[in-house]
Structure formats: structure tokens, C-alpha cells
């Protein structure tokens, strides 16, 4: 699952450099914006069959690749 999430993130962030640092702050460095969050949730639902809606999101909880992985795990 982890690798799938990283794969999704690389796709949305249009880069593979996040793989080098899973604690990188994605919103602070222009990798993710609010519209991308919608895209992220859609992809997680499609590819991992985990449904998370926008109203469950706190940005602080999904601000790094590692946090996103944890967040998805708690929603399975």
C-alpha cells in the first residue's frame, strides 16, 4: 500500500524527488495545493478502495508523504 500511495503522490506532484524525503512538507514547497487534495482522494479511492471525503481532511494531517500513508492506514 505504501508504494502505491507514493506512486499516486509522485503522479500528482509530478516528480519523483519526494521519494528521497518522505517527510517533505508538500504544501509548503508547491507540490500540493487544495485542488490536488481532491485529486489525491479520488485516486486513493480508485486505486486503494479507501473512501475519504474532503470534510474529513485536516491539512496538517496530510502535509507529508509519511503523514498521508498514516492517514490512509487509519481510514481502512
Amino acid at each position: 500500500m505504501e508504494s502505491k500511495i507514493i506512486n499516486i503522490l509522485e503522479n500528482i506532484c509530478k516528480t519523483d524527488e519526494i521519494n528521497a524525503d518522505l517527510d517533505i512538507e508538500l504544501f509548503d514547497y508547491g507540490y500540493l495545493d487544495s485542488l490536488d487534495v481532491v485529486e489525491l482522494l479520488t485516486r486513493i479511492e480508485e486505486e486503494l478502495k479507501v473512501k475519504i471525503s474532503i470534510s474529513e481532511i485536516i491539512r496538517e494531517e496530510i502535509s507529508t508523504p509519511n503523514k498521508i500513508i498514516e492517514f490512509v492506514k487509519t481510514h481502512i
Binding site: 503522479n11 506532484c13 509530478k14 516528480t15 524527488e17 528521497a20 524525503d21 517533505i24 504544501f27 509548503d28 514547497y29 508547491g30 507540490y31 495545493d33 487544495s34 485542488l35 490536488d36 487534495v37 481532491v38 485529486e39 482522494l41 479520488t42 471525503s53 474532503i54 470534510s55 474529513e56 481532511i57 485536516i58 491539512r59 496538517e60
Partner: protein, 519 residues
């Protein structure tokens, strides 16, 4: 219409009239008015008849609107600067505007040589000290005075200040009132979410205040905690939603964003970037009883220059959604490169003419003369603004179809690509940089920077990219940081000897395809 007097009158009404709701706090009209009076008196004592603009820095604090009104009452133009703007950006605004005072509502320090900085705590002390004193009316802004200067991205890397007069705003607000009369019932609560650095926020603020209605405030922190925000929305009784299409699209993605959440919603106004049919369809599905207005307009011509109600019939038509018709008594002309007016159906530059055309770029005559022109129409002198937007007219309705230059809109933010390039070039690691906006159908658009490094040996070092992003963050707001940075050893050159942007885009496109098909 005397904006200041109209707002001030709400002070004397009986009962507690709420001007603004923000989190669990609210400010009444009488508090807003008396605080702005007090601050205006301080400004008059300090500066007298000197009308130098004042920078108001912060986010959605009550003190922001108090300060805007205080500036109007003491005769100063105000420069609203949202706290998403980093220090270096604020510095260039301070230098360009030659301001003598910055009212700083943020927690950070913004001290510049010879510029007085008033922080929030001090501001509230001042307001307390001058409590009960009312400024002399002779200091109020006059029609030809500048009410606000809003700084937008400039291609040189230094922001440009768009100067709007009090009479420009009055003209616009007269139209607003008519619009709200047509679409809204008596209870009016307006969404106040758009950053004060973006001029559509002026529409919310002043239409609510002159109508004596309430602003329901949403800040950036709430936008990063949707869970809390949805609870907050539930209590809002919102009647008018105003935002960029991107912002509402995020919410539409959640099925709880519907009639139950906003049972009193009557009107949705969307502006700041092209509106898609899909977005409007979603809105009508969730809110069968609301009307959707699409607005278009550059900051230079006071907030919105054209508007149209998007009907369900328009959604079934083949063409993309129109931007509509000009406001009453103003004109939209489509011109060719020679400045000649084109006939209906032909594509050309959208030019705006009328009382909404602003004064120009503050202390920048060269830039002003390039796009603001005086013209004679029916032997009457009139100002017009060349937008740089491309459009055409069909059946009397205007359609937008792109830009003449490198200005782009990303999630409603107006950005000059050359602005990002100039700032990238400030970074010592970087020799040269080109920024493009990459768009693929059905995918979110994003910025990509192609960068040539000073030290060619680091071209395969991924850490460089983060170093670049970190430094760029000091010069530009987050929304201007390119998502993707591609390191290059050279740039392709076209026949004219310039960097070939098209080829770079092509390269990016091919790269993305390769990734998709797993090559």
C-alpha cells in the same frame, strides 16, 4: 452615493447589527464604525493632509476592514497585502508605494527603514486612546482620490500597483446593488473568503457594508481543516457565495456540500478564472434553487467588467460558457493589433471602456501608458484599458479565449510567468530559468520551471530542486512556486534567437506520456 456616510449611518440603527462574523467572534456595525473613526483620527493627527498610501498587512482579522475604513475617512489610499506574501514581496510593495506606514496584523515583524510599523496590539491601544472622537469630514476621500492600490504580479519580478479611485468603486457598487436587488431576498449574508490581495474581495466587503449586511469570514486556516469548516458552514445561513471556480470545485467534491448545508443560499458568484460547464452543473445539482453568475474582469477595471447569469440552456450548448455583457454604461470592444475594432465573431484583444477603468499603475507611468489609453468615442473623451485577454463576441455576448502574453491564472491567482522567472534568476544556484503552465485535459494544471544551473555538475542532484524551492519561497507566495522543476544543461533556441518555450512544453508533454504508459 457617499459610501462612508451610508456605512456610518448603520451605527445609529437600533439593535445589534453584525458587520462581520469570524470564527466564534463577531463585530457589530457600531464597533466597526467607532473603531475606524478612532483610527482615522490618529492618522489625521499623524499625517494631516498628507495622502500617502498606507499598507495594511494581515489576513482576515477584524482590524483589516477597520483599517480600510479608517484610511478612507482620513483620505489615504489603502494597500491591502495578504499574509501569504513573503517578506521580500512586501518589501518591494513598500518600496514601490513609498508608504510611510504599515499596519501589520500578522505575528511577524515587518520593519523597514523610515517606515512606521504599527502592530496589532499597538493598533488596538491607539483605537482605545482615540475612542469616541469622530474625524472631520473634510478629510474623507474625494471622488477622484485613490481608494485602494492592489499589487498584482508584474513581468519584471516586481509587483505592479493598480490604482482604483473612489468614483471607480462607486460606479461598480451601484451595479452590485442592482444585482443583489434582483437576486437576493432581505436576509443577506455574504461569504468573505477571498484574500484581500485579490480585488474580488472588495466586492464582498463593500456590498455587504453599504447594504448593512453581514460578512461571514473564512480564513486560510479553515480551508486547511475542512472537517471544522463544514461545522462552521452549517451555522452560517449564507445567502451569497463568492469565490473562484477552483475554490467551489473543491467543496463540490464532498457530497455534504449541498442544500442542507446552506439552506438559504440564493446566489453563487464565480470570478477570477474560466468557469466550466461541469462546475455549474454540479452546483445546480446540489443547489437546485440558486442562480450562478459568471463574472470576468481584470483588477485594472475595478473588480468585474462583464457578468452573466449561467442558465441551464447555456450548459447544453456547444460553445464554452460566456463571460457575458459589460456593466451598464461601460463598453467592451474587441480590437486587432492595430487597435481597430473587429466585427462580431472575430477574435481579438478585449478592451474595456468606461467609468470602471482605473487610474493606472501607481508611480509607474511607463507601464500605465502601455495599456491605459484616452480615446474619443462619439466625440466624448473616455479612458480605456487594453486587457491583454483574447475574446470574441457572438450574438452580442462576450466569450473569453486566452491571453496575448505570458500572464496566466492558476486557481484564480493572477501570475506573470516572467515574474517567477525573474525571481528564480535571483537564486545564486541558477543561471537561467523558463516557466511554463502545463495543462492537460481532465488534469489539474500546474507550473513547471526549466532551470539551468550555474554548477553543471549538480544536474543529477535531486536535492538541488528542494534547495531552489526553499529559496524561491522567500521571494514569492506559495502559489507561485512551480510544482515541477526540470534541470537542463541547455535551452532550445527558436528561429528568432529566443528560448523556445513551445519545444520545452512539448518535451514536458512527451515526458508525461512516457510516465503514463510506463516506459
Amino acid at each position: 452615493m457617499d459610501i462612508i456616510k451610508i456605512i456610518d449611518n448603520y451605527k445609529n440603527l437600533s439593535g445589534y447589527k453584525i458587520a462581520q462574523i469570524y470564527k466564534d467572534k463577531m463585530i457589530s456595525y457600531s464597533e466597526l464604525i467607532s473603531k475606524s473613526d478612532a483610527l482615522a483620527c490618529y492618522l489625521i493627527e499623524k499625517f494631516g493632509r498628507d495622502k500617502t498610501p498606507i499598507v495594511i498587512y494581515g489576513h482576515k482579522e477584524f482590524e483589516m476592514i477597520i483599517s480600510f475604513l479608517a484610511c478612507m475617512k482620513s483620505g489615504h489610499p489603502y494597500i491591502p497585502v495578504d499574509d501569504s506574501q513573503p517578506y521580500e514581496r512586501v518589501k518591494s510593495i513598500v518600496q514601490n508605494s513609498k508608504t510611510k506606514l504599515i499596519i501589520n496584523n500578522s505575528k511577524l515583524s515587518y520593519s523597514f527603514d523610515e517606515v512606521i510599523e504599527i502592530k496589532k496590539e499597538e493598533l488596538n491601544k491607539i483605537i482605545h486612546n482615540y475612542e469616541g472622537i469622530i474625524p472631520d469630514e473634510s478629510y474623507h476621500l474625494k471622488d477622484n482620490d485613490t481608494i485602494y492600490i492592489i499589487y498584482t504580479s508584474g513581468s519584471t519580478g516586481i509587483p505592479k500597483g493598480v490604482e482604483i479611485s473612489l468614483s471607480n468603486l462607486k460606479y461598480f457598487l451601484k451595479w452590485c446593488i442592482k444585482l443583489y436587488d434582483k437576486y437576493l431576498s432581505e436576509d443577506k449574508i455574504f461569504l468573505n473568503q477571498i484574500s484581500y490581495s485579490f480585488d474580488v474581495s472588495v466586492m464582498n466587503i463593500f456590498s455587504a457594508l453599504i447594504l448593512g449586511k453581514t460578512l461571514f469570514t473564512v480564513d486560510n486556516e479553515m480551508l486547511s481543516n475542512y472537517r471544522k469548516l463544514f461545522y462552521y458552514f452549517k451555522e452560517s445561513n449564507l445567502s451569497t457565495w463568492i469565490s473562484t471556480p477552483s475554490t467551489i470545485e473543491i467543496f463540490l467534491n464532498d457530497e455534504n456540500f449541498n442544500e442542507k448545508l446552506f439552506s438559504k443560499l440564493e446566489l453563487v458568484i464565480l470570478a477570477g478564472e474560466p468557469l466550466t460547464k461541469q462546475c455549474v452543473e454540479n452546483i445546480y445539482n446540489r443547489f437546485p434553487n440558486v442562480k450562478v453568475i459568471n463574472g470576468y474582469g481584470p483588477t485594472e477595471a475595478t473588480i468585474l467588467s462583464t457578468y452573466i447569469e449561467i442558465t441551464k440552456e447555456m450548459l447544453n450548448k456547444e460553445e464554452s460558457l460566456p463571460i457575458g455583457n459589460p456593466l451598464e454604461d461601460s463598453k467592451i470592444l474587441i480590437k486587432d493589433d492595430n487597435g481597430d475594432i473587429l466585427e462580431e465573431g472575430k477574435k481579438g484583444e478585449i478592451c474595456i471602456q468606461g467609468k470602471n477603468v482605473g487610474k493606472g499603475y501607481y508611480l509607474n507611468e511607463t507601464a500605465t501608458k502601455e495599456v491605459f489609453v484616452e480615446e474619443y468615442i462619439d466625440s466624448e473623451k473616455s479612458r480605456s484599458y487594453k486587457t491583454g485577454d483574447i475574446g470574441f463576441i457572438k450574438n452580442g455576448i462576450i466569450y473569453y479565449c486566452g491571453r496575448k502574453d505570458f500572464q496566466i491564472k492558476l486557481n484564480g491567482n493572477r501570475i506573470e510567468l516572467e515574474d517567477i522567472e525573474s525571481n528564480l534568476k535571483k537564486i545564486t544556484l541558477i543561471k537561467n530559468a523558463v516557466v511554463v503552465l502545463y495543462k492537460v485535459r481532465n488534469e489539474n494544471q500546474y507550473l513547471c520551471a526549466f532551470v539551468m544551473l550555474e554548477d553543471i555538475n549538480r544536474i543529477n542532484d535531486k536535492k538541488v530542486i528542494l534547495e531552489i524551492k526553499k529559496e524561491l519561497k522567500e521571494y514569492v507566495p506559495n502559489y507561485m512556486i512551480p510544482k515541477k522543476i526540470v534541470l537542463k544543461d541547455s535551452f532550445p533556441i527558436n528561429i528568432n534567437g529566443k528560448i523556445d518555450r513551445k519545444l520545452l512544453l512539448q518535451e514536458l508533454e512527451n515526458k508525461c506520456k512516457d510516465v503514463k504508459y510506463g516506459k
